[in-house]
Amino acid sequence: MTTEGNNRSRVLLIGLLIVAVILLAKLFYIQIVDDKYKINASNNSMVYDMIYPTRGIIYDRNGKIIVSNKVTYDILVTPREVTQFDTLLLASVLETTPEFIREKMAEYSRNKKKIGYQSMVMLKQIKPETYMKFAEIQYNFPGFRGQVRSIRDYPVNAGGNLLGYVSEVDQKYIDDHPGEYRPGDYAGKTGIEAAREKDLRGEKGYHIYLRNSRNQIERRYKDGEMDKEAVPGHDIVTTIDADLQQYGQQLMKNKVGSLVAIEPKTGEILSLVSSPGVDVSMLADISQHYNEIIKDPHKPMFNRAVQAPYPPGSVFKLVNGLIGLQEGTLNMDMAYPCYQGYHFGSHKLGCHNHRSPLKLEEAIMMSCNGFFCYVLRNILENKKYKNIDEALDKWNEYVQSFGFGHKLGSDFPAELGGTLPTSKLYNKRYGKGGWKFTTIISISIGQGEVGVTPLQIANLAAIMANRGWYKIPHIVKASEGVEIEPKYYDRQYTMVDTTNFKKVIRGMWRAVNNGPGTGCTAAIAEVKGLDICGKTGTAQNPRGADNSVFICFAPMDDPKIAVAAYVENAGFGATWAAPIASLLIEKYLNGETSRPDLENRVLQGDLMSRVKTYN
């Protein structure tokens, strides 16, 4: 063992020597033989000049630029290179105050040790004209230099908070994305800018320069061989129609709510307005306006179209009617009476004045509450199911298939799923067996525990247009170098057959086109030749007047656009939501409106005084 052991220890020691020789040989090579790593003997060092990539451009569906870039300059200071300088002159050229510069310089000298030879950003986003003035006298100010920086530019006022904003990353953001950002980098924080940050941002590059011992930059290191060029970000093509978006924003001006338009065949969002929104002029320099935006009681950064859960109101009757037809608890010949509403015990769920009894088609046309109480009662008291729990959960399953009660899966970073009642919820609230149809009667007409986002009801309009299916609404189109998830190409089928949709759509057509004075609810939305099909809704709002709701699509036989309008505290569906949606459709399909008076009324309409603010 000992001699064997000695042999083995010798082998190991030889191995140790070999490894030591390998390490030393490599060291010898890089330190003495190869001058690739040399920065000559006079103590030079390298300076990294960061090159920021240009951020991708955002286009609308027709190739119109919605967001591009413009050049600004940051003023950098390398405090160790600064000599005595004329503070007053510098301040006047840079359009700032001498106090500001003095304060900054004092701050740098306090942190001298930490800063070392690094450059600090003193002023951000200087206009090119200002920078040119500075560049002329720059030689007087050693240690100061300008760095090109591109910021966002918005050629058209379309999108606002839909586009989102780009701003400098803070420490938390850097920590949340380890290894991706450094202080001073910019990143998209909301909207499309955030959702597509990875495509838009590009890759940073750098040039390496040599600095001699007197801190002067001498030349490119290795003639730029080890430099890295910046890679510009990918451009993004959105599904938005910039003109339509702009028009939608004008229609929704001075109203609180949302206006969403979808191309039914593709699920592409044509416009998505959340009002009040952020004006694009504020987006480019969001930090300057941040307090103003935060303090606005109407919360302009809040994207109501995808984040606000509202009761859908009567537009929800379409869903209940379709489920009834599919389940066989409702057919086209059934007629129900309505005497100013549905009476149960000493209570009643009220309705407006219209003739009675009605069948489904006319009940949709006139939006009869009483009729749809019967519809839901028949669904929930269906003998097919063991009890009301099971029937309600089946109903829930149906409604889910329409895209309600869960996130649609759109490409918005902060989409909300809405709410939909289940037997579990009611059992928890009233106890098992402690509730029956009349307890939850308000869900017949889209009130109560049903909460939906405007995007979801726009999607309902698209489902109606497609007679039973939808594609997940989305806002980014696939384009060169940018992929979208395959799910956006798939049809999502509801649990209701196409034939049943056809019956209901007849009622929607009549609601708009039956002619004034016949009891149809949305005659105001009629446009000759466009065959708009629609459904009004008037949803109760505990914070004041009712919300005005309208969904529609057009033309009936070959739908090109589906729209949902939701206006808070605006009264009947026909008063505001229907004209707004109808004008939007007309603009999209005909290019201009034939009803200037109506358009004028909508554009001038100011409902802000009716809206109670959130505090």
């Binding site: 190991l12 030591a20 060291l27 960061m50």
Partner: protein, 482 residues
């Protein structure tokens, strides 16, 4: 070893070992000072910076050394090896759940300002238990049961540390293979395992072509050159191998991109040659009854399989996030932030040092914060830049001297516990040395692991102090009484 009944402190302690230890600590401290030193001079004792803090760590480490030398009976280490091992193992597991995420790894305990990494002391407890097991009189590593016990003791903490994402610390455990080799583990196995690890890393970090070349070279050396049959065939083979090294380069220069030849990649040519070689070796091995030829052929096949399956699994089977993880573990995509690769920075810093360096505190690369982890994992950059090749030579010499000295002492020892523990200590220092310096000069992927005694940090300094001084104490006790 003579018949001294009780030698004094002066004779019984291996002073050469202690002095090399002290020199390395001193060098580390000076270089930590240089690495945190900005153009604004501060005292080396300034406790707000790392050099001052390191001074405290050094003082406490020396206190620890004294306690181990004079206050603890060396027998204690052998008798309490198992409870220590289990205790540390529990710490290793607990830390996964209670620690904060530090760059993706979960390995630090935090008590207010004090942080400590159980993976560091796990080296000590594993070494102690390994020495206890392997020094038992009836232990034979060639017996399966004993071998499995050994593998278990090494493997369990290694896997837990891997789960903490501390790849570097886990890799150190591979060094225990040397201890196993010394105690009778087959040299061919040791050789094969090391070769397999090397091929694996080479395939991922360089290319399958490079690792196949290395494989063929190794097989050539072991089957033709070492057996002493370096005839004409051997020379021809060597010539072909050299040509093959140039093949991709020649290909890139001469073959036009569109031609048919461009589709025949150099890798496939190499693979074809490999298959021919395997066939001839098998035939000759069978005809001439030369077992080593057949074994060589089998080794070649296994190696080729390893290279291609590594490549295939990595590129075709692994999911993106798994691939990314391995890439990060191997340091292939370490620095997405854009300021060049860490290795590039560190090689520029070291390379710019030249023969004699830029002088103390005159390093420029190191003071601008270009090299990451300047005072911890990349402390060798400061040595290379400010002290040049000479400085590197001195540091590497000190480490080699220290390891050498430990191995010699271990061999002199009459107790197998001391011997085996000594080999464990030597292996740990060796692995750290090789991985860390290899990383800073681009020989190894970037794997975060400190340079023993030089890098800033209490955990590491304490752990190596304890590791080394337990050995000095064990060896001293023997000298005292024999």
């Amino acid at each position: 070893m003579g018949n001294f009944s009780d030698r004094g402190v002066k004779q019984s302690i291996d002073w050469k070992l202690v002095i090399s230890y002290l020199l390395l600590i001193l060098i580390g401290w000076v270089n930590i000072y240089a690495s945190v030193h900005s153009s604004e001079p501060s005292s080396i004792f300034d406790f707000s910076v790392r050099s001052g803090k390191q001074f405290v760590w050094i003082l406490t480490a020396m206190g620890l050394a004294l306690i181990i030398l004079f206050a603890i009976n060396p027998r204690f280490w052998e008798s309490s090896a198992l409870p220590l091992y289990l205790f540390v193992l529990v710490l290793l597991m607990v830390v996964i759940f209670v620690s904060k995420d530090v760059k993706g790894s979960h390995s630090w305990f935090e008590f207010g300002p004090v942080k400590f990494q159980p993976a560091e002391i796990s080296k000590i407890s594993t070494s102690l238990l390994l020495a206890t097991l392997m020094s038992q009189t009836n232990y034979r590593i060639t017996r399966l049961k004993d071998f499995l016990m050994t593998a278990l003791i090494i493997g369990v903490p290694m896997l837990v540390i891997l789960a903490e994402s501390e790849t570097g610390s886990a890799l150190v455990y591979v060094g225990f293979l040397f201890v196993m080799y010394r105690e009778g583990f087959s040299g061919w196995w040791l050789f094969s395992i090391i070769l397999a690890v090397a091929l694996f890393i080479l395939t991922l970090t360089a290319s399958p072509y490079v690792s196949l070349l290395v494989l063929i070279g190794v097989i050539l050396i072991t089957t033709i050159i070492i057996p002493g049959r370096m005839g004409v065939v051997g020379w021809i083979d060597l010539g072909i191998l050299t040509l093959l090294c140039l093949l991709p380069w020649v290909f890139g220069k001469t073959v036009p991109e569109e031609s048919f030849l461009a589709k025949v990649k150099p890798l496939y040519i190499l693979l074809g040659i490999c298959l021919c070689v395997v066939a001839t070796m098998l035939v000759r091995g069978y005809r001439e009854r030369k077992r080593y030829l057949s074994m060589g052929a089998l080794g070649l096949i296994a190696g080729i399989a390893l290279v291609f399956s590594t490549e295939f699994i990595f590129n075709n089977i692994l999911q993106d996030h798994q691939r990314k993880r391995i890439e990060v573990l191997l340091g292939m995509k370490e620095d997405p932030s854009g300021v060049g690769y860490n290795v590039n920075q560190s090689m520029i810093a070291i390379g710019s040092g030249g023969f004699s360096g830029k002088g103390f505190l005159n390093g420029t690369q190191t003071t601008f914060g270009f090299v990451p982890e300047q005072s911890t994992d990349f402390i060798f950059c400061t040595v290379g830049e400010e002290w040049g090749f000479l400085g590197c030579l001195v540091v590497i010499f000190l480490y080699v001297f220290m390891i050498w000295r430990i191995v010699i002492d271990a061999e002199k020892s009459r107790e197998s516990f001391t011997r085996i523990y000594g080999y464990c200590v030597a292996s740990c220092i060796f692995m750290h040395l090789f991985i860390n310096i290899g990383m800073t000069i681009g020989l190894m992927p970037v794997i975060g692991i400190p340079l023993p005694l030089l890098s800033y940090g209490g955990s590491s300094l304490w752990a190596f102090t304890i590791l080394i001084f337990i050995f000095i104490a064990l060896y001293r006790q023997e000298k005292k009484y024999y």
